[in-house]
Structures are given as structure tokens and as C-alpha cells.
């Protein structure tokens, strides 16, 4: 099975690619119009997975890339996004309204001064610099219930942001404040430990089909924040058939009302793994919990695989110095869902590539 056959003109596609660190969603909105949500780069590759995938359909495909969305600035979601923006001159860039807040603007502006480099903030700074230098539009800002895209086809396709709300942004800015450089303090690489309060959750409608893309939004148990905030502000519409599970299936992103109020029974749910720090997501318990809500649960990758074998002397040193060690970047597994853009019931096709699997 090959991933290189393009969707039909009247087909909606939601491709979820997750290599073990990071995730990327590639959406065909119909009529060769595309949207990329977040970005990651496969091990040993130069180009982001989204560019490799879209270019596999022919170089003209990039001309149809209309929208590039950063759900948040953590580097497992934004790696390579500047390159996508650069190679898709017709695309608009969309990010959380949080970027306009003084705290995040200051953090982004300090990125070029920080000699440590290599963080999601730097990537976001690169994107904004690139847009400015090439006289492209400033970003489209995601807020609750904001229409980001609307197709001109006979069957409408719309993409709407459901977050972040003001309280979510306020909460996120408190965390950002802690990361701002202060005179006399050491320069450090930003390691993302802060919660994802200002993530951009997306709602896609194509005919009668609805899709909920959960980004990394967490459940805070506070009114108007996290998933409670999304549900509180979401206009009542028919529920979604397809769900990109938030935050790699972690329990702190789980809110059962999402399943009962926003999703159809037994939706197609896709989770991407995450392996960094002391946490490896989704845990078995996460998959068990998710599987209670749907029989159609898919994961893009089983994990990152074994560490590379180095020469014997080096391996000996590793064993003596390091108690625990694991690979955090695997191959980019790919779950592809395609369905016709039409009114009325649809039968989606689900294709699994490169290690993606159905959770039994």
C-alpha cells in the first residue's frame, strides 16, 4: 500500500502523522486545497513530513496549501513549520491569539538573542520573521468560534477554531512569564514543561461530516478553561465523526463530556505518541481508557524503537553512566482517513502506513 496516491478532488482527507516525537496533520479540504496543522520532521530527514507528503503528489500541490496552523509553540508540534511557511507562499499562517500578548511577544523577540537556540520559540520567531521580511500577511489569530477557512465548492467545507479563550490565554501567559529572560540570570534552552492552555482546537465541517482536532489542550477542571471552556463556548452542531485525541492521549487532557457532547458514538479516534522526559504517552492505561469510548481507536506509532547500537566501548560507557535510556524519535507512522465531501452519511476509508496500528 502506498501513501502517494492523491485524494480525489471531492474527497476530504485527514492525515495524522506522528513519529514518536511531535505530530503533524495534513488536511485535504477538497479541490486541491490543503491545510497543515503543526509539523514534525522524521529522523534523519531534512524536510518536514508535511512537505514530503504534499510534494509526493507533485510540486504543484504546494500551491494549494491555503493554511498553515501552529496549535501552540512547543517544539514537538512546530519543528519545521517555518520551512513549510517558506515553501508555501500562498498559505496564510494561523496561530493562537496568545502570540499578540506582551509575554509571548517578548519571549519570541528574545529568541534571536538566546545563544542556546533550538526551541519551539525560535521556530515561531523564524516563522514571524519570514512573514514580515517577505511582506506577507500577519497571522490569522485563532479564537473561539472563528472561521479560518471556507471552501467555494458546492458542498461547503469550513474550518473553525474553538480555542483559545481569554481565560485560557491568561492562564498560559502566567507560565510564559516565568520563561522570560531576566538580566543577570543564565541563558537556558527552553524545555517545554508548561501546560498547553492556549492550544488551538479545530472543528472541521465537510458536508455533514464533522472532525474535532484536539491539539494538546488539557482538562483543567476550571470553568472557561481547557476542554470545559471549549464545550461552554461551542455552538451546538451535530457531533464529530473523527477525533484527533488531544495531548497524546494523556489523562490530563481527558474530559468525558468531550466524548458525549462533541463526538458521535464510536468515533474514529487517532492518537499520536509522545516520548520525552519521564513520561511516555499514551500509557497502556490511556489506551484502555480511550478504547472504552470507541472501538475505532488508531495510533500512529507503537513507539520509537530500540536505541542504535554503537561500538562496544561506547556501549560500555553508556551502560555505566546511564541508568535508563530510550529513543524518543521513531519513524513517522501515518493514519489516513478519506471520505467523500457530501451531504448525508459517508463511509470513511482508513489506511495505515509505516507502523500505524489499530488499537485492539
Amino acid at each position: 500500500m502506498s501513501a502517494s496516491n492523491p485524494p480525489k478532488s471531492d474527497e476530504l482527507e485527514i492525515s495524522v502523522i506522528g513519529p514518536g516525537l511531535g505530530e503533524c496533520l495534513i488536511i485535504h479540504l477538497g479541490h486541491n486545497e490543503w491545510c497543515v496543522v503543526d509539523s514534525c520532521i522524521a529522523r534523519g530527514r531534512q524536510e518536514p513530513v508535511a512537505l514530503e507528503y504534499l510534494k509526493s503528489f507533485g510540486p504543484q500541490t504546494l500551491n494549494g496549501l491555503k493554511l498553515v496552523i501552529a496549535t501552540h509553540w512547543h517544539d514537538d508540534h512546530i519543528q519545521g513549520l517555518a520551512s513549510i511557511v517558506a515553501q508555501a507562499p500562498r498559505a496564510e499562517f494561523c496561530c493562537s491569539l496568545a502570540v499578540k500578548h506582551d509575554e509571548l511577544t517578548a519571549l519570541v523577540a528574545s529568541a534571536p538573542e538566546n545563544i542556546q537556540g533550538r526551541s519551539g520559540v525560535e521556530e515561531l520567531a523564524n516563522i514571524l520573521t519570514q512573514l514580515r521580511r517577505s511582506n506577507r500577511s500577519s497571522p490569522v489569530y485563532a479564537v473561539p468560534n472563528r472561521k479560518l477557512f471556507q471552501s467555494s465548492g458546492t458542498v461547503p467545507v469550513t474550518l473553525t477554531s474553538l480555542s483559545p479563550s481569554d481565560p485560557m490565554i491568561t492562564s498560559a501567559m502566567k507560565e510564559i512569564l516565568k520563561l522570560l529572560p531576566k538580566a543577570g540570570e543564565p541563558q537556558e534552552r527552553i524545555v517545554e514543561s508548561s501546560p498547553n492552555h492556549a492550544s488551538v482546537v479545530l472543528w472541521l465541517e465537510a458536508g455533514d461530516t464533522r472532525v474535532l482536532l484536539g491539539a494538546d489542550l488539557e482538562h483543567t477542571n476550571r470553568n472557561n478553561e481547557g476542554w470545559m471552556g471549549v464545550i461552554a463556548q461551542h455552538k451546538v452542531t451535530p457531533p464529530a465523526l473523527v477525533f484527533k485525541v488531544p495531548h497524546h492521549g494523556s489523562s490530563n487532557a481527558h474530559f468525558s463530556e468531550v466524548w458525549t457532547k462533541l463526538l458521535t458514538p464510536d468515533p474514529l479516534a487517532v492518537v499520536t505518541p509522545f516520548a520525552r522526559g519521564s513520561v511516555r504517552l499514551p500509557r497502556d492505561s490511556d489506551l484502555e481508557r480511550l478504547a472504552k469510548h470507541t472501538h475505532n481507536l488508531f495510533c500512529t506509532s507503537r513507539g520509537a524503537g530500540k536505541p542504535p547500537i554503537r561500538d562496544a566501548a561506547t556501549e560500555r560507557w553508556i551502560k555505566t553512566q546511564v541508568k535508563d535510556r530510550r529513543v524518543i524519535e521513531g519513524q513517522p507512522g501515518h493514519v489516513r482517513i478519506r471520505l467523500p465531501i457530501q451531504n448525508g452519511p459517508v463511509t470513511p476509508s482508513i489506511e495505515l502506513f509505516n507502523g500505524a496500528y489499530r488499537v485492539q
Partner: protein, 240 residues
């Protein structure tokens, strides 16, 4: 294979199969410097060197005379030499060369208004070759002797030094960064080959120092790896 691209990806793995016996690197800036300030304790105060390393600095030469003109010292990991128009950090043969970048970035993060005119990202490697035949073959392939034997009759012409220049990118701009690769018989490793690379940038007057440091920050590791890739490629090519 093009050597004048920024990457030689095909050989990145093979390069690793060749580990130099002696390995070093240096970063050189030309411009206008005040050597008086570049003393070991200054680097400690700026958090560029650990205190213990600076305290153990050796061979310190500071000429302090109404605007010092030389500061030169060695630590366990680095040799730092500053004159009025040249700043250089070089790694020691017993240390990891990569952190010299941090000394440069740290120094000119603090001295942000220093005028600089040129930058060199340099690596030096001495490789041991498997056989004398391979050693001769390297010289013969890089500098064929046929022509020389016709005129240097009775002698045994051999390659002493070869310097190759290439622009770093494919542009025709004469001011484009240049890459110099020098190959010589090693004077330090028996049956060895010496490779020296110099990735050289020159800058227009008033180029912001930050622009130059962005090159150091963004390019250093690639320049360092590229040097190994070039050496590995040439050594493999000569052996065929």
C-alpha cells in the same frame, strides 16, 4: 559529488568511520579588539569559562602597555589568543573541539559592539592511514606526478601541500563565503594525512556583529561535520 554545497549528505555516515587520531578546531575573527580585557578571569566573570579552568590557565602572556596588544593563554581545553586585529580560540588536542563555539558566542554576546571584518571556522584532523601504499596513493591521486617526473629527473617528487579553494555555495558572488581545504602529509601521525579546512567569511564594514554571530551559531556544527565528510570522502576516493 559537489564539495561546494553546504552539505555533503551522502557521506555523513561514512565520515564517521574515519576517526582522526588528532582532532582540533579553531574559530578566528578579524576586526578590532582590545586584547587587554581578554584575560582568564574576565572569561570567568562573564560565565564563559569555569573558574577552575581559568585559574589553571598556563602560558599567559599579557602585554599591558597603554592599550594592551596581546593576550594569549591556554587552558585545559582552549588556546585563546587576541591581538588588536585578530581573535582566535583553538581547541586543545585532548579536548572536545565543539565548545570553542561557546567561547566565541559568549565573548561577543558580551562585547556586542565589536567591529569584525572576517570570520573563519576551521578544523584540523590527522588521520592514520592503513598502509604506506595508501599514504602514497593519496598524494599521487591528489597531485599526479607524471608531469613533474618529466622535469624533476632523478628526484622523487612528492606532494608536500595541496590547497583547494571553493565557494561555499553555488553563487557567482565574489564575496561569497569560501572554503579552503589543505591536505598535507601529517607531521604528527606516522603514516598520516593532515586535513585542514577553513570556512571563510568576509564582511562589509559595519556588518552587525550579531549577523556574524548568527553564522557562528547556525553554521559551526555543519562546518565541523562538513570537514570530516570532506576528509572521509577524499581518503576513500584516493583508495579506490
Amino acid at each position: 559529488m559537489r564539495l561546494n554545497g553546504h552539505r555533503v549528505l551522502d557521506y555523513s555516515c561514512r565520515a564517521m568511520s574515519r576517526v582522526p587520531e588528532i582532532n582540533g578546531a579553531s574559530i578566528v575573527l578579524t576586526g578590532s579588539f582590545n586584547p587587554a580585557i581578554f584575560q582568564p578571569q574576565w572569561f570567568v566573570r562573564q560565565n564563559i569559562l569555569p573558574e577552575a579552568e581559568a585559574e589553571a590557565a598556563k602560558n599567559l602572556v599579557v602585554i599591558a602597555q597603554q592599550g594592551a596588544q596581546v593576550c594569549d593563554f591556554e587552558t585545559e581545553r582552549f588556546r585563546i589568543q587576541v591581538t588588536t586585529d585578530r581573535f582566535m580560540v583553538m581547541s586543545k588536542a585532548a579536548s572536545n573541539p565543539v565548545p570553542i563555539r561557546d567561547v566565541v558566542l559568549g565573548t561577543f554576546f558580551v562585547l556586542e559592539h565589536t567591529p569584525a571584518t572576517a570570520l573563519g571556522l576551521n578544523r584540523h584532523m590527522h588521520f592514520h592511514l592503513d598502509s604506506v601504499e595508501e599514504w602514497h596513493q593519496l598524494g599521487d591521486r591528489l597531485a599526479p606526478k607524471d608531469g613533474w617526473k618529466g622535469v624533476l629527473k632523478g628526484g622523487r617528487p612528492g606532494m608536500r601541500s595541496l590547497l583547494i579553494q571553493s565557494s561555499l555555495d553555488s553563487s557567482e558572488n565574489p564575496e561569497a563565503p569560501q572554503l579552503y581545504v589543505k591536505v598535507e602529509p601529517s607531521t604528527q601521525v606516522k603514516q598520516g594525512a593532515y586535513f585542514e579546512t577553513n570556512e571563510s567569511y568576509s564582511f562589509a564594514k559595519d556588518t552587525p556583529l550579531k549577523t556574524i554571530m548568527d553564522i557562528v551559531r547556525g553554521r559551526w556544527e555543519e562546518a565541523y561535520n562538513h570537514a570530516a565528510e570532506i576528509a572521509a570522502y577524499i581518503l576513500d576516493w584516493a583508495r579506490k
